[in-house]
Symmetry: C2
Subunit: 449 residues, 2 copies
């Protein structure tokens, strides 16, 4: 019956999805301001057509927020569907095989910017909901929250949330904005890392000075910065900042065993990145170093003379941007203060050190023994013919942790993207098979939850 409904309506589905994909809702580019509003209105219209009681735009300090809902029974649990209608820029446009904003279906996939991230995945929720409403099957109250700034940090939504807490009350936040391992190995992402970002500046002499006249006596800020950064990693690969691991929850042997079921292609990664080996905490398996452990990476460093040839100078200052990926229960703000304090602590007195706090957000964990996880697992098992494996993502969606803290609702990441979707890159695409499997899985989730 689900298959039949999809088959009978798929041309309409495609047309509706294409109407969204055609709007270049690039949140990073101010010239698309009007497109953001157009796209939000189109999403709200599709929500109403799909069967919400109400759906409309809410102003924020940035792009409009789309909210809609359908109440079926005050006794029922409430699902809050989160997604985003904004997309990444299409640059470099010349590398696309077809117009990024003129969607096509080619070789079994939707082709165009936003097909996977996140318009295509967001749209699956509308169609699963439509099916349930039109067939009188919807068991849960459903709320939809779609923002237009996910690709630029969710700043406006973050500020909007607090004043709309009651409106967003829910039991679970359901999100399709991630990937699974493959069509053959379905998976559910049951945790993401948090992030803390700091920028450190080390300043020595008030101007660049001659390395001959002063070298050996006046501290070189680049040398000092390298020493400081190097000291942050211990010999075993762990992060050497006192207190850094205080709030890291131990992962049970059972959970580690469960997570290890997800295949992890070490050779494939090495080959794809052209590297000869890995680094990191020797006490953890490669997949665990990404999935369940925090890490520290310098994302950028600069200072002194970087032109051609040899200039012998002790630069006045040196700078680095450092990201820390955090695991669930580590608080980003607390870690930022800890890191900043530690960096100031270890700074030698011959330089001055300034630490700027950048973006941050907490990680989160979806327990695999929760009702929501079990329902999602059963739904996906039905559709894919095998049980999904739990995975942990190394990346961060800070807004989900914020929503969990504010609403008390755990996020559930039923993502149907694939590694081959090329999100954020030219030739973004989304496989039709995953699109259909996604709709079916989401319909069944309402049944089993």
């Amino acid at each position: 019956m689900i298959d039949e409904y999809i088959e009978n309506n798929k041309d309409r589905f495609f047309n509706e999805l294409f109407s969204l994909l055609r709007i270049p809702s690039v949140s990073a580019m101010p010239e698309h301001k009007e497109d953001m509003k157009l796209c939000a209105e189109r999403v709200a219209a599709l929500l109403r057509e799909a069967g919400t009681d109400e759906a409309g735009l809410y102003p924020s300090e940035g792009n409009p927020i789309v909210f809609g809902y359908k109440n079926v029974n005050p006794e029922s649990k409430t699902i809050l569907v989160y997604g985003h209608y904004d997309v990444q820029p299409a640059d470099p446009v010349e590398k696309w095989d077809s117009d990024p904003f003129e969607p096509e279906i080619r070789e079994g996939a939707f082709r165009g910017r936003g097909t996977a991230d996140d318009k295509g995945q967001l749209f699956m929720h509308l169609k699963a909901f439509e099916y349930l409403v039109r067939n009188n099957l919807l068991k849960h109250n459903v709320k939809f929250l779609f923002e237009g700034e996910e690709e630029i940090g969710s700043g406006a939504l973050s500020k909007w949330l607090g004043a709309h807490k009651d409106m967003l009350a829910s039991d679970i936040v359901l999100v399709s904005d991630t990937s699974m391992i493959s069509e053959e190995i379905p998976s559910i992402n049951c945790g993401m890392r948090g992030v803390t970002y700091v920028e450190i500046s080390v300043t020595g002499p008030e101007r660049d000075i001659h390395s001959g006249h002063y070298g050996g006596l006046v501290a070189d800020p680049v040398n000092v910065l390298c020493d400081m950064i190097s000291s942050l990693t211990a010999a075993d690969g762990s992060i050497a900042i006192p207190g850094f691991y205080d709030d890291v929850l131990p992962v049970s042997d059972a959970d580690r065993k469960n997570l290890s079921k997800a295949p992890f292609d070490e050779d494939g990664i090495m080959k794809s990145l052209k590297i000869a080996g890995f680094t990191g905490e020797s006490a953890y398996k490669p997949s665990e170093r990404i999935g369940i452990r925090p890490c520290m990476d310098v994302c950028g460093i600069w200072g002194g003379y970087t032109g051609p040839g040899c200039k012998t100078v002790i630069p006045s200052s040196a700078h680095a941007k450092i990201s820390f990926r955090l695991v669930p229960n580590q608080d980003s703000e607390k870690i930022t203060s800890l890191v900043a304090g530690h960096l100031k602590n270890i700074a030698p007195s011959c330089v001055s050190v300034e630490v700027k706090h950048g973006e941050g957000g907490n990680g989160f964990l979806m327990p695999t023994d929760s009702d929501a996880f079990k329902a999602a697992s059963k739904a996906i098992s039905d559709v894919y013919g095998k049980e999904p494996v739990p995975t942990r993502g190394g990346a961060s969606i800070p807004i989900l942790a914020e929503m969990r803290e504010l609403l008390g609702s755990d996020p559930l990441l039923m993502g149907f993207g694939l590694e081959s979707d090329r999100i954020h890159s030219p030739n973004e695409n989304y496989r039709l098979s995953q699109f259909f499997s996604g709709i079916k899985s989401l319909i069944l989730f309402d049944k089993y939850f």
Copy 2:
């Protein structure tokens, strides 16, 4: 009698010097190619007027080399005077109080580019020589070697030297291209450091990758570079490269005591650079860390994202330019190989490391018990009324070490510049009192050597 000669001829001296200063012989700028030749010809003409047997231009693969000589007695020692007629660019021109190439005398100093570095100092030798010739006092055979590429690395002279070894045969290379402590504390620079410059590149993943997806597992080239750089300095401030100190000659207690006579204004340096303290080898006094010890400074570092905001990326590569200052008897080429080998040795296998060799040159030492040093000391004592203190310069003039190796002639650095001369900066100037004291000292050196 010297004073009288100078007084009677000083207007002519000024005019002649100004004729040199007016030629914008900026070796770094190709558009001044013709000015280089003009300036070389003017120097040769001044040499002939001053009384050389012969003086003229020699072609090199770069700017012309000026050579002249006067033989008085085959039994006498020969002094080879070295200097350079090229100057630094005048940029930023708007910061000058007067036209850099229209010299003036203002507030007791020559004002203009090249007044101190090195046309004004080079010119003192011509006038000391003129005095000695015209008064029939010249005791030594004198040769003059002036190049036009000192400010860009002396590459052409370096290649020219070998084929002109016999022509340059001499007992001492006399140079006025450095400074003394002050007019009240005359000094002689009796050693300079060598230099070795390398550029290191650390490459990890073949493209910039997402720090969330890979952080903790894939080595970040910036982290690795910081670790490598940090490991080059030991806890006591020394350089932790096996073999690095093998050729460093111990400095005798007597020499250290002698060198410590030179005042070293620690507070003044800290105040001028706005720093709260020094770094370096705790076993050596601050002045010694510059004067008699090698050091390692990162002159530039870059890699990854350096724009505004927070980009969470593991960059594909990271780079640094590193200068090592060497002490006498350390061989620059040997150290370059040692450093490059060590860096490759300590590179973890998860990255690849490339080391490019930059410019280099050896340091040198003028023994304070040599006849030349004693004669210079006596000459300066007569003029300044007090004995000059021996100092060691932290900077490098690699061509002098090359000449010493080729000709066997020790360099003698009778420099009359002052800290306030602002060489390489806007408002370069050279004090008239030092100009006259320099001429007198050089005349007396011929007498006492």
